[in-house]
Symmetry: C2
Subunit: 218 residues, 2 copies
């Protein structure tokens, strides 16, 4: 499998554009935990994931976090190239949640394609619309869903991503994903344990009753 199998609009590029894109591509491998983009790395470029998993989040001045969305195989991280659009006035942090192989498309090369090609520009629109939709969904969760439902939803999502009902994750890390505090998460996890939905042990949350968790999630 090569880049052209992963890049959805490859066939909408001219031969010249395909060659230019390829000559600028960089294939990179990073271990889990690597920060690929943040406010200091000015304009990293677009990241097309070959394998692995990325997490995009925002950070407060005090170091609090909330996960905006995750990116998986074949997903493209656009906001790590925010310099290509003047109107993007925010900074996300992008971190590898698993060992990740990805193609880096440098910002200038992509921007040139976008400026000359309506299909590339419209594809970029769709990418941004997808992320925007995820953020609005998150906003609705934050505004109108109680934290117990959000923890239940997060545990079920994690179990699906990891394909395992035994999650290696700390309470602190769940709090960072959900933009909450460790103490709040610990209290809620204990409630879920009392209700027979999970079993807690050091660094692990085991899902005992996914149906009940799904019912709580609503």
């Amino acid at each position: 499998m090569t880049f052209q199998d992963y890049f959805p609009i490859w066939n909408k590029l001219s031969t010249n554009q395909q060659m230019r894109l390829c000559s600028n591509l960089l294939l990179r491998s990073v271990p889990r935990g690597t920060v690929l983009h943040n406010g200091e790395t000015n304009c990293t470029g677009l990241l097309l994931i070959k394998s692995g998993q990325l997490r995009a989040y925002i950070l407060s001045e005090e170091g609090r976090e909330i996960t905006l969305y995750r990116l998986f195989e074949r997903d493209i991280c656009l906001l790590s190239a925010s310099c290509i659009m003047n109107s993007i006035q925010f900074t996300i942090t992008v971190e590898a949640e698993k060992d990740t192989d990805f193609w880096l498309i440098p910002a200038e090369a992509y921007q040139q394609l976008m400026e000359e090609s309506a299909p590339v520009a419209n594809f970029t629109n769709e990418l941004m619309a997808s992320r925007f939709s995820e953020v609005i969904w998150l906003m609705e969760q934050i505004m109108w869903k109680s934290m117990d439902k959000r923890v239940a939803a997060f545990l079920l999502e994690e179990a699906a991503i990891e394909n395992s009902d035994e999650l290696k994750i700390t309470h602190e890390s769940i709090a960072n994903h959900l933009g909450s505090h460790r103490e709040v998460i610990t209290r809620l996890l204990r409630f879920l344990q009392n209700e027979g939905m999970v079993k807690l042990s050091r660094g692990t949350v085991k899902l005992l009753d996914e149906a009940k968790l799904a019912k709580l999630r609503g």
Copy 2:
């Protein structure tokens, strides 16, 4: 002043595209309070504001609201034409906050331009990036700013929009803007009144000390 003075990329359209766009345009006037777009009106089209003011917000199933952003003269409402992008998976409600004159650009006409013209597609990208930035800013406010600071910020913003320190606004309405409850807002406004920052009377909030409010806003 005509449409071409208001539409930022008019000069990037071909004569044929300009003519097609003009032949599809509708100039509309609506009184304050009119809902121009919501989940039921499938795809209203883009709205370019000639004069007036629009508010875009999301609604919960229980009828709770939160204002995402406002649009003023020369702004373009893109998300009222969400059907032009497959990846927009959410619905906003758009309401006239003042008597408003606007041009309606029908969705199909705009979509056709976007598909054939890289400048139009890239302009659309910038529009979406602007709104996305406002929503991320709001998310940061919700996550990391206490409600008293958000009320102070809202009152100062309203005073600037209305160019008046005497705001005709109910506590209920402030709560809807900020995604809060009336009781919470009433309590906070009374606190601001005790601190000498505002004076409350029926249906009115008068700003007494903008410097102190600005300091609270941070």
